[in-house]
Amino acid sequence: MTTRLVGAPLTRREDARVLRGETRYVDDIAIPGVAHAAFVRSPHASALIRSISVPQPAQADGLLAVITGRDLDGLRPFPVMEPNGARVAEGEAHPVLPLDDVRYAGQPVAAVIARTRALAEDAAELVEVEYEARDPVLSPRASDLALMSWSRRTGDVDVAFAAAAHVVSGRYALPRLVAAPMESRGAVAEYDAGEDALTMWCSAQDIHRSRAQLSHILGRDEASIHLIIPDVGGAFGSKGVIAPEVAAIAVAAIRLGIPVKWTEDRLENLVGAYQGRGIEGDVELALSADGRMLALRARLWADLGGYLLTTTPVPPHTAATLITGVYDIPVADVEVIGARTHKVPTGPYRGAGRPDAAYMIERLVDQAARELELDRIELRRRNLIRRFPHRTPTGLEYDSGDYEHCLDLALELAGRDEPSRTRPADTARGTGIGMYVERAGGAFESARIELHAGGRFVIDSSSSPHGQGHDITFAQIAADRLQTEPGMIELRFGDSASSPGGVGTFGSRSVAQAGSAVALAADAMVGEGAGLAAHLLGVDVGAVALTAGGFVGSPEGGSEALSWPELAEAASDPARTPPARDPGPLEAVARFESANVFSSGAHAADVDIDRETGQLTIRRLVAVDDAGTLINPLLVHGQVIGGVVQALGECLVEEAVYDEDGQMRSGSFLDYSLLTAAEIPPIITGEVETPTPLNPLGAKGAGEGGAVGALPAVANAVADALGGRHVEPPYTADKLWRALHEPVSGTRSEPMSRR
């Protein structure tokens, strides 16, 4: 097979439609007579619900119904995942609407259904909820309830620490962040009582998980839920679990017998959508006199919020299992406690535990280099994993990689065209390297392919896009294998009525899993085509080969070629298709499953801090990522840039701030700051392609690496500029100014308490 298209930087076919505003998001779904939902939300971070008094429809203009927790008998709370080896608390799953208590400010308490959204908001003001406020728990270390926990101890860690020449420790924390997709969440629900069929349009990452969650919550067969995902304006992890509000409008549509829409507004998105990060930890590294890493201890606390949503346990588990990073550390003792706090739940947000791990281990390695007076690059080189597959002491198996190549390339790019060496007066300058490995891929996806008239292929993929560019990427994969052009291939996504089975779009897995399924389906189609061609050519199937001009028989069989259009015609012609086959389009289905694949990378940052104002300027960022074989380098580049920009936001300004009462103080974009194009430095990217042996494409994942590597690179550069002093992100000007001008208060590096 020649690969003319895999590796080609083709543009997305939906770009023109997106740029012209011709996309159709969930709020654009117009159904006559649709009612609108608004939600009464808890003003308290923690409170008992004493009573709820709701207005009757006649009491408010346009009011149709108010639904509270008492109206939801028979509904179940959210299903909750149990990551491998983790303990997950029972009875702590997020309810659709609460019965007795509320556990975060902004939690939906009652759904108000009215003729318009504005009327629903008016009527919501008439709902009277009597609360008995309680003191909220806001710090995960202060919480006495673990919603999830995971630990693993491999080897004799204590002996390794006792024998070590050096022990270096650090305490690290990342604040909670909001995903802030341009399109907030939302859904439309329509119920056909005659068919007992629920149709939902939902702004979601994928149909499979959303439908499974709805099915679990509503106690309704998946087959009776038709889920459609229209165009989606970004998710970044935040649309992998449906909103409780979405389940509530499904109930409303079923009970009222009219379609109901909920479009999350920005205020709701900031206070009610699950957040990312929110993790802190104490990490200790034992090293030999010559800088070999001998053992690692880590105790992490994740601030999980008031309840478990479906994927809430996943990011802390991912952070804990990746905590040894790209280093060959033989033994480790790692524990993570996902604590209940009175805040909105957390869940996956671009990186989903990966940046957390990279941040902690990479800061610790820099700290070790400083304490051991070793060059920080040399210390890394001495400890990089070089042989694959590599089993980590936390139980992961890294399939492949070339970490030193990533490091070398990052250093080479960083050394080339250095940004201006002229340092303005009163500037503290720093450089930093951040390396990472990320868990990508894993589990299964599938694809179905059909050959239509004229040689056109239609592929139903189980995966669905929300900006990544699945369409052209998958078309490239299939076109190479089918020896055709991408223009002959149409991809279809996001409709449970036509989708083959799969899991979803998350965790940098779409190309590795769903792309591989497309590849296998295309291969199977080639097999189907060869079979038909052999029949038509009157030769043995083994003698048939696919060329750019079509299927040809072996040289002895003549040089006649049968093109895909000819095969499409023959397949539906009873006179020409083999007797054993029903006439009709050629089709093939494939399912692909594999273990996780591990992407990696090395990022480098140059920063300046204005000593007088504390302002951090990221002068340049170098991002070298190894996502295995690249199908479409242009889209991978876009993924890296997008991820880096989100990491830079995390470094510079982003933080969900809560006050002592548990009220989110950054509940609008006036307070929750996002970067603008003006803050984005030059970003130089480099690619290393170490194919994974675990799938037919050799592809890993590129969706999150940018967000993973840039954070530790900038963090190390900031610490370098501060002479080694550690400050947690976001690196706001006041924080850095104080770090430069105020003495260190207290001791930061405390010995870790052992239990």
Partner: protein, 266 residues
């Protein structure tokens, strides 16, 4: 984020708008860049919204007898793009470029920014440094206030019920005047954390107005006097920040003032 119900009245005339503002629970809508979010958050719940946008007589930008006369409804973008403003009062051109983003400035008005009196807004501080006069009109007549008389507190001005800001008058720029506006914000287009507006004629005149030193624009009068008495930039800047309690904010204001002075004196 839908506003509570309100009645919408396009203003038929300034007098008509003043009448509604005087007799009903009404607020005036200009560019809406702050008011509409406040309505959508239901933090403002007026019964009546008087839309000033039809009042083209308030949308003017002209030089009259050397003074710059800015109609209250003048869009921030108009101020930013005016060659006459850039030539005579470049401080305004510079300050307004920090107000939000282009789309906000296309709609947002100069008068709205003044009347809203956000302590983090740039235009009130720049206008304070330029000794601007604020013309207010009500059913009973007109009055004119200085910046120190107008700005009373965060989001609070001396505007009374039934009174409307109709025009801002910026006195003629003195020959040889130099001006600079510097600010510190988290990101481009964000509200400023601190800022300094400096207008000087060396040896003759000094105006230093600070953003972020207090909930209203303040003139650093001790610093201004020191400048006229010949103190160097660092000392003038030190005096400008001297009354600010928070160490970081003080450092920021001192630095911004010093850098603004360095720029005008360069």
């Amino acid at each position: 984020m839908k506003p509570a119900p309100f009645a919408y009245r396009p203003a038929p005339s300034v007098a008509g708008a003043l009448d509604v503002l005087a007799t009903e629970d009404a607020v005036a809508l200009a560019g809406g860049q702050s008011l509409i979010p406040l309505l959508n958050f239901r933090l403002a719940r007026p019964e009546v919204l008087v839309d000033l946008n039809p009042l083209t007589e308030l949308d003017h930008l002209e030089i009259s007898q050397g003074s710059l006369r800015i109609g209250a409804l003048t869009r921030q973008a108009t101020l930013q793009r005016s060659p006459a403003v850039a030539a005579g009062w470049p401080l305004l051109t510079e300050a307004v470029s920090h107000v939000g983003h282009a789309a906000i400035r296309n709609r947002g008005t100069v008068g709205g920014s003044v009347a809203h009196a956000d302590p983090a807004a740039e235009l009130p501080v720049a206008l304070a440094a330029l000794d601007a006069r604020f013309h207010l009109r009500s059913g009973s007549g007109e009055r004119t206030l200085s910046a120190s008389e107008l700005f009373r507190g965060p989001m609070t001005t001396a505007l009374e019920t039934g009174e409307l800001l109709v025009e801002i008058e910026v006195p003629p720029a003195a020959p040889g005047v130099r001006m600079a506006f510097l600010e510190h914000a988290r990101t481009h287009g964000d509200f400023a954390v601190a800022g300094a507006a400096v207008v000087v004629v060396p040896g003759e005149r000094a105006a230093i107005a600070l953003l972020g030193a207090a909930p209203v624009p303040v003139r650093a009068s001790a610093a201004e006097r020191a400048f006229l008495e010949g103190a160097d930039g660092a000392e003038v800047a030190r005096l400008a920040g001297a009354d600010v309690g928070d160490r970081y904010r003080r450092a920021l204001l001192t630095t911004l003032t010093r850098r603004a002075l360095e720029r005008v004196l360069a």
